[in-house]
């Protein structure tokens, strides 16, 4: 027997996930342009791992496999993981991260809709704690590269850990701009001279800033098609801008300008694709603002004063814990009960 309403808007979880993946395309395009095609390999690898582990877990948990695989959520998680770790990471890094995200962070909590933490960020956190060296070897953008490994060489390194004899890892990888900034500041270099280095572009890092722009473009698409609301990205980026701005105003020599913070690291990715994961973010508007502002503050604190180069993942996870509390205390007043409560 079925009951009213008898009509439904033609929309489904799987479509939503697909749209979000579609919104990742501009950033992937920028990645391809600046860093070469190896990102496609890690995307594929992550996707295969995600689908395989998801299917296996659904089977083990005695859940219907087909409808849950069709929801595309595992694929989206895989893409986000691939985009947030170094593209030239060894194959097992991608596999371990993705499998951990799907098995532990998602399915063991009850699968789609029941995970308290963002699976992609769990994967990132696990990897950066367990394999810190591998996680800091980021590809050098094409225009800065001295010795090109070539796609075949990259594959050989990725799957066989083999490098050409006359080359070291440092020839084609580098630390991220955030990491570089941190190290250099530690050495006493002033911001202005650090930014003079070739790896820095107009906004943040050469190449990576354009990937961030890609995320921004995709994010605006998500907002325009009403997949996400403005609350989370605006509150996150706005807070990050304000916090970084205040510090920068106080001491421009030691604190990077706010735009640098917005366009480096995972800030853009996080603002539009990580924080906005509906499962792990608050449901109320006020809650979303608090959640995103908190994440921005934590991101900045970890970036500037913490031990890790980027704080997005840990900020997200820390704020994920607070979601039920935030939701509880930001319940909006319902129709007709606004005055009465006052």
């Amino acid at each position: 027997m079925f009951y009213s309403p008898f009509i439904r808007k033609p929309i489904s979880v799987s479509q939503i996930m697909l749209r979000v993946m579609l919104a990742l395309i501009p950033a992937i395009g920028a990645y391809l342009y600046y860093f070469g095609p190896i990102i496609l390999v890690s995307l594929t690898l992550a996707s295969i791992t995600a689908v395989a582990t998801e299917a296996a877990m659904l089977k083990l948990r005695n859940r219907p496999v087909a409808p849950f695989l069709q929801d595309n959520s595992a694929l989206l998680t895989a893409w986000l993981i691939a985009l947030s770790i170094p593209a030239l990471a060894p194959w097992w890094l991608v596999v371990v991260g993705t499998a951990f995200a799907i098995v532990i962070a998602k399915q063991l909590y009850g699968g789609l809709g029941n995970n308290p933490f963002n699976p992609a960020m769990i994967a990132y956190a696990v990897l950066i704690i367990s394999f810190p060296t591998h996680m800091t070897h980021w590809l050098t953008p094409a225009m800065l590269i001295h010795a090109d490994l070539g796609f075949a060489g990259q594959l050989a390194y990725m799957f066989g850990n083999v490098l050409p004899q006359n080359m070291t890892l440092d020839a084609f990888t580098m630390a991220t701009p955030l990491d570089t900034l941190k190290t250099q500041l530690h050495l006493g270099t002033a911001i202005s001279s650090i930014f003079g280095q070739p790896i820095f572009g107009g906004l943040a890092g050469q190449g990576s800033e354009m990937v961030a722009v890609g995320f921004l473009v995709g994010g605006v698409y998500l907002w325009a098609t009403r997949i996400i609301t403005w609350h989370l990205p605006v509150a996150y980026l706005g807070s990050l801008f304000v916090i970084a701005g205040i510090f920068h105003l106080i001491d421009p020599a030691h604190y990077a300008p706010p735009l640098f913070h917005l366009f480096s690291g995972a800030a853009m990715l996080g603002a539009f694709f990580i924080l906005t994961d509906p499962v792990t973010s608050p449901t109320t508007h006020k809650g979303k603002l608090i959640f995103a502002a908190g994440a921005a503050l934590l991101t900045y604190l970890i970036r500037v004063f913490g031990g890790f180069p980027d704080g997005m993942a840990f900020a997200t996870l820390l704020m994920n814990i607070c979601v039920p509390l935030i939701d509880l205390y930001t319940q909006p007043k319902v129709f007709g009960k606004k005055e009465q409560a006052r």
Partner: protein, 537 residues
């Protein structure tokens, strides 16, 4: 220009209203039988006044409103009552209820009617007329109108006439406003007079320009009455939402709108009020949209009690119809079968087929996307309510304002996981009601039990007191009893013994009488023995 207000959320489902407005309201022929339930309204069931075999006239009272909140039931046409009995009614449960089956004689012979002047009629009498005419809210809530016209502690300033008709497919109010605007407006006059209101606002969604034009024309000479076009947005026709849009007042759940100075009536109710007051026509028929999987979607003026299958046949029902829906596709009720009859709440019959209303895809887990919260007109958090209802955490569900839910279905409509959200809320609500009733019953039982224990204790005490008092009295009386009195008693006893008196009526008995006495004595002995043995166990 009036200032309009917004309500939160809302959705834009495809309306499909053009289907059924192509031809005017039609009057179908008399059906072969009418099945009239005695409980078609909010409140207690009407008490049947007729028996099987009785001849009734059209408009004759066959169900008397019981005390308190109730409404009357009438014979929709003249004919013979074939049966008073339990029949399946138009309700989601598919359970039977008490109905009168009326076989029409085709004469349409009316009871005596009188024409009255609604302007001079005393207000109390108008309410009485409406109660006995069985007028209830025809928007679907079927709340007795006389109760709504009683007013509250506060002065009712504004009357809202609801012609918004926001549900897809339904056009009965639209057609009524197009064709009978004048009588609706006159009904509005009566309502305004009874409640002593200052103004009447007629809210009509702006996708019904013809109805708006007709209504405007009808109330052009009334300064206190205005037709206001409201934006088309589901559920803008919900009473709370329309009141909000027109007046800015929010009536919370459990609050009487009259306490906020406003009262809302459906336009069809206003029409029926006028007909009942001015022409003493009880509520015998209503406009019903028949649409969906039929050849000729149309509005009919349908007699209450008309079987749905006959009604759909007049609109040309298609053979691949799987079932019928009473009401619209957002809030309608699936009918248990197509033999149930049209009741006062029935504004629309949609013939459904799998092509028109494909079965819901399997429900996926909630991903907390809050699309439901975005569209909820009551500003609830449906995803939380769903969580609590699903886990049967009813206390928490109530804390999160479950009972503010108007079951409009907007949340289910937009849910990308296709979760039957409203269904969960209905389940939770009826469970909570059942639990409240159980609780009340338990409290009552506890009270009665405690009282009984107290009573037994008290009786024991009283008995003991009495016994003690008697003993005391006996003790006190003993020395007073003189010796000669004792002697007299003894003498009397001795005389009695000598004479050995027997009762007069036991001499000269027939053998039959003696046998009967013996029999009775035996039974008495037997019963005593049994009672003793029972008491012993």
């Amino acid at each position: 220009m009036t200032q309009l207000y917004h309500f939160h959320g809302g959705v834009h489902p495809p309306t499909h209203k053009a289907l059924s407005v192509r031809s005017p309201i039609a009057t179908p022929p008399l059906p072969s039988k009418l099945v009239i339930p005695f409980h078609q309204h909010v409140g207690s069931m009407a008490k049947p006044l007729v028996q099987a075999g009785d001849y009734v006239f059209k408009g004759q009272l066959i169900g008397m409103p019981e005390d308190g909140l109730s409404s009357a039931i009438h014979a929709s046409t003249s004919g013979t009552i074939a049966e008073i009995g339990m029949q399946v009614v138009a309700h989601a449960s598919g359970l039977p209820d008490l109905c009168a089956t009326l076989i029409p004689d085709g004469k349409e012979a009316w009871v005596v009617r009188e024409q009255r002047n609604p302007i001079t009629l005393p207000i109390d009498e108008i309410r009485h007329i409406l109660r006995l005419a069985g007028i209830v809210g025809l928007g679907g809530a079927v709340f007795p109108s006389d109760a709504k016209l009683r007013g509250g502690k506060h002065h009712v300033r504004t009357i809202v006439l609801n012609g918004a008709e926001c549900e897809p497919y339904i056009t009965c109010d639209d057609m009524l406003m197009r064709q009978r605007a004048r009588d609706i407006v006159r009904g509005g006059d009566i309502i305004r007079r009874v409640l002593g209101a200052d103004e009447v606002l007629i809210g009509i969604e702006d996708n019904k320009p013809q109805a708006i034009a007709m209504m405007q024309e009808a109330c052009v000479d009334r300064s206190s009455m205005r037709v206001i076009a409201v934006p088309t947005l589901y559920p803008g026709g919900g009473a709370k939402q329309l009141i909000r849009v027109l007046t800015g007042i929010e009536v919370a759940a459990g609050v009487r709108s009259t306490d906020k100075g406003v009262q809302c009536f459906n336009v069809a109710t206003a029409y029926s009020i006028y007909r009942a007051v001015a022409f003493s026509e009880p509520l015998l028929s209503r406009i019903v949209t028949v649409t969906g999987n039929v050849h000729k979607p149309q509005n009919f003026e349908v007699l209450i009690g008309t079987p749905v299958d006959e009604l759909v046949a007049w609109a040309g029902g298609k053979p691949d119809t799987t079932h019928h829906i009473m009401g619209g596709p957002m809030m309608g009720v699936p009918l248990p079968n197509d033999q149930v009859s049209v009741v006062k709440a029935c504004n629309c019959i949609i013939a459904a087929s799998d092509a028109l209303f494909p079965p819901a895809p399997p429900a996926m887990p909630c991903i907390r996307c809050t699309r439901c919260a975005e569209v909820c007109p009551q500003e609830l958090q449906p995803q939380d309510l769903y969580w609590f209802a699903k886990s049967k955490n009813f206390g928490k569900a109530q804390e999160f304002h479950l009972f503010d839910c108007i079951e409009c279905g907007a949340c289910s409509y937009v849910c990308p996981s296709h979760i039957p959200l409203v269904q969960y809320y209905r389940f939770a609500k009826s469970e909570i009601w059942a639990r409240d009733n159980d609780k009340k019953a338990a409290d009552q039982a506890r009270e009665r039990h405690e009282f009984r224990e107290y009573r037994i204790e008290r009786e024991k005490q009283e008995k003991a007191d009495k016994l003690a008092a008697k003993e005391k009295a006996a003790l006190a009386a003993k020395p007073a009893a003189s010796d000669d009195a004792q002697q007299k008693i003894q003498a009397a006893l001795a005389v009695a013994k000598q004479q050995a008196v027997t009762p007069k009526n036991v001499s000269d008995l027939t053998p039959q009488q003696q046998a009967e006495i013996a029999d009775i004595e035996a039974r008495r002995a037997n019963n005593q023995a049994r009672a003793q043995s029972d008491a012993g166990t």
